[in-house]
């Protein structure tokens, strides 16, 4: 196995992404410096276009937590929250966010964060979101608005579900945003943001579906978290996102033409021996080390579910300027976190088939009960349906105490060896 390089290699799109994220935090810092607030909300079910219509820039606590994880500062935040009485067993994102608030409300880049002028609780299947914003409401005393998105328990969206969400947007969310911003709702402005969203979403889908090529020009899990960064944060519905995804697609097309694989932090990926689908969010505190365990063994992720938590665009959904509120409602209803287990199994099994994967990996999150419940069932069911072997590994999001490198490496290597033996016997895994 190769060692981890001391310097990090990035491709063009990753550099652009880094600049966009840095600029996002700079703008939040400027708001904080000016004593202005901002709405805080979540990535799944985010209403970025609607917020932009009111010239509001969202703060996304889970993005702050994961960025802190990548910068190795989340551990202190988690410990701080535990000292305040938060349990070891609960979501580490929540504790990182509470810890960061108590440590001065400074963002991962060192820029101060604006205080919440509204907690926009878009509830899309992750139960912890409810408690998270109850906790933040207690800490910050900010007003809270809840958008209740019905769970897709039956595996679909009914007209009643859509109408219920639209009604809340009209009667609760928009008036709250008008109050916070002091601006009247302009539906034409919203339509323009939605038009830009759809353009960016088209190119994002092209980028993510490039994983169907052999060799795959992208890593659809580790590498793709960079690709989804801008659209998961405050850039959906902006020209900057349209430009970013257009440029990224051009970069990927060039790579396809040259028959090249993804750029990993340790350099261009060599031979792709194993094509994998991955379920579950990555570990952020040891992100590079985690990725290295796969790419150094010739394993590339061709698709993942985590890159869809901000929207299932590859299943056909697009924001629609002709149906502005209805399409925002459908976006929320369609979030990956809002799907039942059966739909999640369908999605993963489809990915295994459509991306010609040799196997799939479930990365289960110790402190994420909401998302991890049922993953063993998912593993068995996807194996049964596809005939491809699955692996189950566990660590955490941003709590560094739960990343046991030796154990995870051992399990990943054993799994890949097993895939290798299957290939040797049967021609492919």
């Amino acid at each position: 196995m190769s060692s981890i390089a001391t310097s990090v290699r990035k491709d063009r799109s990753q550099e652009q992404q880094k600049a966009l994220i840095a600029d996002y935090y700079r703008r939040l810092g400027a708001l904080a410096a000016a004593g202005q607030g901002a709405p805080w909300t979540f990535v799944p079910g985010n209403l970025t276009e609607l917020l932009l219509t009111f010239d509001l820039l969202p703060v996304l606590p889970e993005i702050n937590a994961l960025q802190s994880g990548m910068r190795k500062t989340s551990g202190e935040q988690v410990l701080h929250a535990e000292k305040l009485g938060h349990s070891e067993d609960v979501c580490a994102y929540v504790k990182a966010s509470i810890g960061a608030w108590h440590q001065g409300n400074v963002g991962p880049t060192g820029d101060p964060l604006p205080k919440p002028n509204l907690l926009l609780l878009s509830y899309t299947g992750c139960f912890t979101f409810l408690k998270w914003f109850e906790l933040l409401r207690g800490e910050t005393k900010a007003p809270t608005v809840m958008l209740h998105v019905p769970y897709q328990a039956q595996g679909g969206i009914t007209n009643e579900m859509r109408a219920y969400v639209v009604k809340q947007l009209r009667e609760t969310v928009i008036p709250a945003l008008e109050k916070v911003s002091g601006k009247k709702f302009d539906i034409d402005k919203l339509r323009e943001h939605l038009r830009l969203s759809a353009l960016a979403e088209d190119d994002l889908v092209r980028v993510l579906e490039a994983g169907k090529h052999k060799p795959s020009p992208i890593d659809g899990y580790f590498g793709a978290v960079y690709y989804v960064g801008p659209i998961f944060t405050a850039y959906r519905g902006t020209q900057a996102a349209v430009d970013y995804y257009r440029d990224t697609w051009v970069e990927i097309e060039e790579r396809i033409a040259r028959g090249e694989g993804p750029i990993t932090p340790d350099g261009p990926m060599g031979e792709q021996r194993f094509r994998l689908v991955v379920e579950g969010p990555p570990n952020w505190t040891h992100f590079r080390e985690f990725w290295h365990m796969f790419h150094s063994e010739g394993a590339v992720a061709v698709a993942s579910t985590y890159t869809k938590v901000g929207g299932l665009y590859d299943r056909g959904f697009r924001h629609d300027p002709d149906r502005p509120l209805e399409s925002l409602a459908e976006y929320c209803l369609n979030c990956y976190t809002n799907l039942n287990l059966s739909s999640r199994v369908d999605l993963i099994a489809d990915y295994v088939r459509d991306y010609h994967a040799d196997g799939f990996v479930v990365h289960s999150i110790k402190s994420c009960d909401s998302f991890s419940a049922g993953q063993l069932l998912i593993l068995r069911e996807v194996e049964k349906r596809t005939g491809k072997p699955g692996a189950f590994i566990e660590s955490d999001l941003v709590d560094p105490r739960y990343f046991s490198a030796a154990n995870i490496k051992n399990r990943v290597e054993s799994y890949l060896q097993m895939l290798g033996q299957k290939q040797a016997v049967g021609g492919h895994a």
Partner: protein, 239 residues
């Protein structure tokens, strides 16, 4: 609700009418009244209604026919009236955190043996989920929906918009005249564990003594819990 009713009808082969629903609402109203009466009696005279007995009795309602269960509750009440128990000097506590995963009976006995009268708890909440009766006239499904939306008990798994988290705990402590709170949350129960810091802060602000521990449904070792609860009870009685 109508979809659920239709699905249940398809599953059982029985179409449920509005009158069937009204009859059922009335039966559960009667059952809930009996359950709540026993809870009130326990808060007033906890030596009369040991929590281990009350818990087993109320939990039995999850598997018994509602009429049979109501009759059982009434019979228990009659037994208490016929043979009063002697009052004891123990600390009055409210227990929180067990609303979903139910505690083992031995855990409750342990708390009582450690010197605690449990005068308020959040066990088997479904038996008293709705505050008061549900109307039996008009549209029964609508009545049920209104009751769930507007008169459901505060619970960590329900988003709380009307009050700050923890206020309902303080209200419950005041109403039951509890002298302290024990947070006994099951491991890995997100709603209870995420709720706890807010409830603890409220208890502290209201000068209500509180302590906490974790348990799991299959917990078999209670000595540590007994020592902790016993120390807590002593601290209340000696303060």
């Amino acid at each position: 609700m109508r979809s659920l009713l239709s699905d249940l009808g398809a599953l059982t082969g029985r179409r449920v009418t509005d009158d069937d629903l009204r009859t059922s609402l009335a039966k559960f109203n009667a059952n809930r009244r009996e359950v709540c009466a026993l809870y009130r009696l326990r808060a007033e005279q906890p030596w009369q209604v040991p929590s281990a007995e009350l818990y087993a009795l109320v939990r039995a309602g999850n598997v018994l026919d509602v009429d049979d269960h109501t009759a059982m509750l009434r019979a228990y009440r009659a037994t208490l009236d016929a043979s009063p128990r002697r009052p004891k000097d123990m600390a009055r506590v409210a227990v929180r955190g067990c609303f979903c995963e139910q505690p083992p009976l031995e855990l409750i006995k342990t708390l009582e043996r450690s010197g605690c009268f449990i005068v308020d708890d959040d066990w088997v909440l479904s038996a008293r989920w709705i505050d008061g009766d549900i109307a039996t006239d008009g549209d029964p499904l609508w009545n049920l929906v209104l009751a769930f939306l507007e008169r459901a008990m505060p619970c960590p798994s329900l988003y709380e918009l009307r009050k700050e988290r923890g206020e309902e705990l303080v209200d419950g402590v005041r109403a039951s005249k509890a002298e302290g709170v024990i947070f006994a949350a099951p491991s890995f129960c997100d709603p209870a564990l995420l709720d706890q810091p807010m409830a603890m802060a409220c208890a502290k602000a209201a000068s209500i003594p509180a302590t906490s521990f974790l348990y799991s449904e299959n917990t078999g070792q209670f000595q540590v819990i007994r020592e902790q609860a016993g120390t807590f009870a002593d601290s209340i009685r000696l303060s």
